[in-house]
């Protein structure tokens, strides 16, 4: 919408002093201090910030989980009152979904997509920064309800009406929930648009869609899911806030409001949401397993198409969350069948991963352990999901701990384990040193054992009739033993997380004394491994021309007459050395941060004092205009994307063909 949409240019290769003020506004310079991080538009720094913040909220959500488990370790627990328990379990769910796993996946998406497609940054770098700052301000706003809101939200992460209405939830917790998620939703939507345009428009020459790595494909499908799902929960949250703030009549049964409207809107978002959570992990392990099997991913086409199929079919199953809500037997039957069929593309992937390992040479690095663990744990979760899809059986399973077991197996066992593997795999690329493998293996095994100890027994508890979302249970129903086991398991998970953080600290401390990992420590397959570790600011010296799938692999290895793999170039020969100078990169900006700060102020205003809305709105408006008008530092600069192509035809002009 701005006129000055031309991208901004700042020569890379160190901080330079470009100041061409237009009026009073200038662009910040690059650098490394805290100001640089606040104004960065570099997708890599933004990815790192998402990752760090996500791991922080993992701890927050994990503490909430430990509180739950301490309360439920024994019957008639007195550790948390019912009131506080309801806040803790609500915030645990909201934190883990919106403040941990989604931003952790965003970290991977932001860091890796441009690298995997051979681009220098995303399509809209300032918008990318905006997404991060908006998300984190939403996250802080949401959690500020503990301090200024009289406690956390207490309606459950799903926040069903009428319980979410003023009559039944008079405290501000639900207001913080709704407004916090609205703010975070803006971040996801903007990021989805950004990444879709990036993937569709900014691929390196020769990189057709079907030569993209599976991770990029899964992330692309995830962005489309976000694009279409976020608006639906946006509507739901607006309706909820209008009811609470302005006495609208959307969810008041006394005047004809339908509580099921909330459920439909929430789950039309909520079901694609779970695929938003899992597809990035599927993509991650689809990169790791082939690398450590020394074979290509088995069935690339099927993997891509099954991911797309999951993306489409995920829209047709939402009411399986509502089987017993009274939607009528015809609807129940239809959604039961559609839910059964979505197991097919998911199951296909499991078989493809196994077939990749089949006949391979498997090296169980930490990343590989996590990836294989993902396959096994997600299979368990997927199978319990299949048992839910039978609507009659679900009448005994729904709202019990059997469901809690299912979704933790798919989200934690599938999503978290997968992304943890990704952290170990790409850590050297991001930070220039490896995470310690021994500690990594300890992390994996302790986490796997703890995870199974925690959530495995929940299958039993659920089938024995333990309802979910209960702050305590009575003795004599047979729930005591497995609850205690689950609590022990949860602390085991916590221990494994401590091992991980210790690993992070220790690896960084030991890094100067260990050999550098180089561009490709794992002998991997995709383009991010052909550039130095850590990634240079400009990503690629020259944008590679892509001739096939697993382009980087094929620059290292070819086939001899007997179709055996032979090396055709060493990593050092084929990789780029990061020494390019004068590559034009987008210039930093503070306005995304300023705009993002306006939003929670509007939120506080809606809750406490409408004048704050004016302040927040003015700040956001000022930021928008300043953003639009801020100077392009170098109006004659090129868009970085076209610079420095491979000079593959040797005519010295960086372009292919007969020019």
């Amino acid at each position: 919408m701005a006129i000055t949409e031309e991208p901004l240019a700042l020569a890379s290769g160190g901080a330079s002093n470009v100041e061409r003020p237009l009026g009073a506004l200038t662009r910040p310079k690059g650098g490394n201090g805290w100001r640089d991080w606040l104004s960065t538009v570099d997708h890599k720094k933004i990815g790192i910030m998402y990752g760090v913040a996500a791991m922080f909220f993992f701890v927050v959500g994990g503490v909430e989980a430990l509180l739950i488990r301490v309360q439920l370790a024994a019957p008639e627990g007195q550790v948390l009152s019912a009131e506080v328990y309801n806040q803790v379990f609500t915030m645990h769910g909201v934190t883990m979904v919106f403040l941990f796993i989604m931003p952790l996946a965003a970290a991977f998406a932001n860091y890796l997509i441009p690298l995997q497609i051979g681009a220098r940054d995303v399509a809209f770098p300032r918008l990318n920064a905006l997404s991060f700052w908006v998300w984190i301000s939403g996250a802080v706003f949401l959690n500020s309800s503990w301090i200024v809101g009289g406690g956390g939200a207490d309606c459950g992460w799903f926040c069903y009406s009428p319980n979410s209405g003023l009559a039944f939830s008079p405290s501000h917790g639900v207001d913080f929930y709704a407004l916090g998620l609205q703010i975070a939703g803006i971040a996801s939507l903007v990021s989805a648009i950004n990444l879709i345009v990036t993937v569709l428009n900014m691929r390196a020459p020769g990189m057709s869609l079907f030569r993209m790595p599976v991770l990029t494909w899964m992330l692309l499908v995830t962005q489309f899911l976000l694009l279409f799902a976020i608006p639906v929960i946006t509507v739901a949250l607006f309706l909820l806030m209008f009811d609470r703030l302005f006495d609208a009549q959307f969810f008041n049964p006394e005047t004809g409001g339908d509580p099921l409207l909330w459920q439909h809107l929430f789950w039309i978002f909520g079901h694609p949401e779970v695929y938003i959570i899992i597809l990035p992990a599927f993509g991650v392990i689809s990169e790791i397993i082939p690398t450590f099997s020394r074979k290509p991913l088995f069935g690339y086409s099927f993997m891509v198409f099954s991911g797309i199929a999951i993306g489409f079919m995920g829209w047709g199953v939402w009411a399986h969350h509502m089987f017993v809500s009274g939607i009528g037997p015809f609807s129940v039957a239809a959604f039961s069948l559609s839910t059964m069929f979505i197991a097919v593309p998911t199951g296909v992937k499991i078989l493809n991963w196994l077939a990749t390992m089949w006949g391979g040479k498997l090296r169980f690095t930490t990343a590989m352990l996590f990836s294989v663990g993902t396959v096994a744990m997600f299979t368990i979760g997927g199978l319990s999901g299949v048992t839910h899809s039978l609507a009659p059986a679900d009448t005994q399973q729904t709202d019990t701990y059997y469901i809690v077991a299912h979704f933790h197996y798919v989200i934690f066992g599938g999503g978290v384990l997968g992304l943890m593997g990704g952290l170990y795999f790409w850590w050297p690329k991001v930070f220039g040193h490896m995470l310690n493998e021994t500690l990594g293996k300890v992390h994996f095994w302790v986490m796997l054992i703890g995870f199974n100890l925690t959530f495995g027994p929940m299958h039993i508890l659920g089938l024995q009739g333990m309802s979910r979302r209960i702050d305590t249970y009575s003795p004599g129903f047979g729930f005591e033993f497995w609850n205690m086991v689950a609590t022990i398991g949860s602390f085991t998970i916590a221990l494994s997380v401590l091992v991980f953080f210790f690993n992070v600290w220790k690896s960084r401390r030991d890094a100067p004394n260990l050999p550098a990992p180089g561009p490709d420590p794992w002998d991997a397959r995709s383009l991010e491994w052909m550039i130095p570790s850590p990634t240079p600011e400009h990503n690629f010296d020259t944008v590679p021309t892509v001739e096939g799938l697993d382009e980087w692999w094929h620059r290292k290895y070819g086939y001899d007459e007997d179709k055996r793999v032979v090396r055709i170039a060493t990593i050092e020969e084929a990789a780029q050395d990061g020494s390019a100078q004068g590559v034009h990169l987008p210039a930093p900006s503070f306005w995304p941060l300023v705009l993002a700060l306006g939003l929670p102020i509007i939120g506080y205003g809606l809750i406490f004092n409408l004048w704050l809305c004016v302040v927040g709105g003015a700040l956001a408006g000022l930021a928008v205009y300043s953003w639009a008008l801020e100077p392009v530092d170098d109006p004659d600069a090129d868009h970085g994307h076209d610079d420095h192509h491979d000079d593959s035809d040797g005519d010295g002009d960086g372009a292919e063909g007969g020019e």
Binding site: M1, I196, P231, H641, D642, H645, G654
Partner: protein, 210 residues
């Protein structure tokens, strides 16, 4: 695509159309993507209205729903006004392409003003409903009606802001034929808002309620 890279360095905007894997510029693709998400936003709001449009609430005080008090002829006129604004938008783009800056400004202003007339009509309609007791909090039907049309109105208003920004830029001499794509993208948004209104008008006003 790669053969075009050499010439594309000359003018900043040209690179937008070459050097992208799809051939559409990043900004235009972004607008199309954004409009895709907007379909779901309005879809959710329209579905809510469809569910609630006959829900009058209990008791004698809550009987009136918006459908009872629509003034179809009036709303048809304001719908026509909005439709005409899409025409003026196209004319503005075409004027800019020709390099006719005064005409560009005139058509941009016309578009914005027609949008403003539409908004004015909405405001008049809402206040007259309010006078008849059908306010936002009256019953589910009215809450859904105001939310749906209100969101649409906000979108139109933001569009007017964008159009006036373009007008001002043109007045300052900053809107040149190099910037046709910017106007085209604003036009995309404006046409979308118009098409959404066609849906809303049909669904809310024209489809009869028993």
């Amino acid at each position: 695509m790669s053969t075009a890279t050499v010439e594309s360095h000359d003018t900043p905007t040209d690179h937008n159309d070459h050097g992208t894997s799809t051939g559409i510029s990043n900004t235009k693709l972004a607008m199309w993507t954004f409009l895709g998400s907007e379909c779901l936003l309005f879809g959710g709001l329209i579905s809510t209205y469809l569910l609630y449009k006959t829900r009058r609430g209990p008791g004698p005080d809550n009987t009136a729903i918006p459908t009872d008090i629509f003034d179809i002829p009036f709303t048809s006129v304001s719908s026509f006004v909005l439709l005409m604004s899409s025409l003026t938008m196209v004319l503005a783009l075409s004027a800019l392409t020709r390099g006719d800056n005064p005409a560009t400004r005139a058509w941009l202003l016309a578009t914005a003003m027609l949008g403003g007339v539409f908004i004015g009509g909405q405001v008049y309609e809402f206040t007259s409903f309010l006078r008849e007791g059908v306010g936002f909090t009256h019953n589910p039907a009215s809450s859904a009606f105001y939310t749906l049309t209100g969101f649409h109105g906000v979108h139109v208003s933001l569009g007017i802001v964008m159009l006036m920004s373009l007008f001002v830029a043109s007045k300052q001499g900053k809107l040149t034929p190099k910037h046709t794509e910017t106007v085209e993208i604003v036009g995309l948004y404006w046409h979308f808002v118009d098409v959404v209104w066609i849906f809303i008008f049909t669904v809310i006003y024209l489809i009869p309620v028993e």
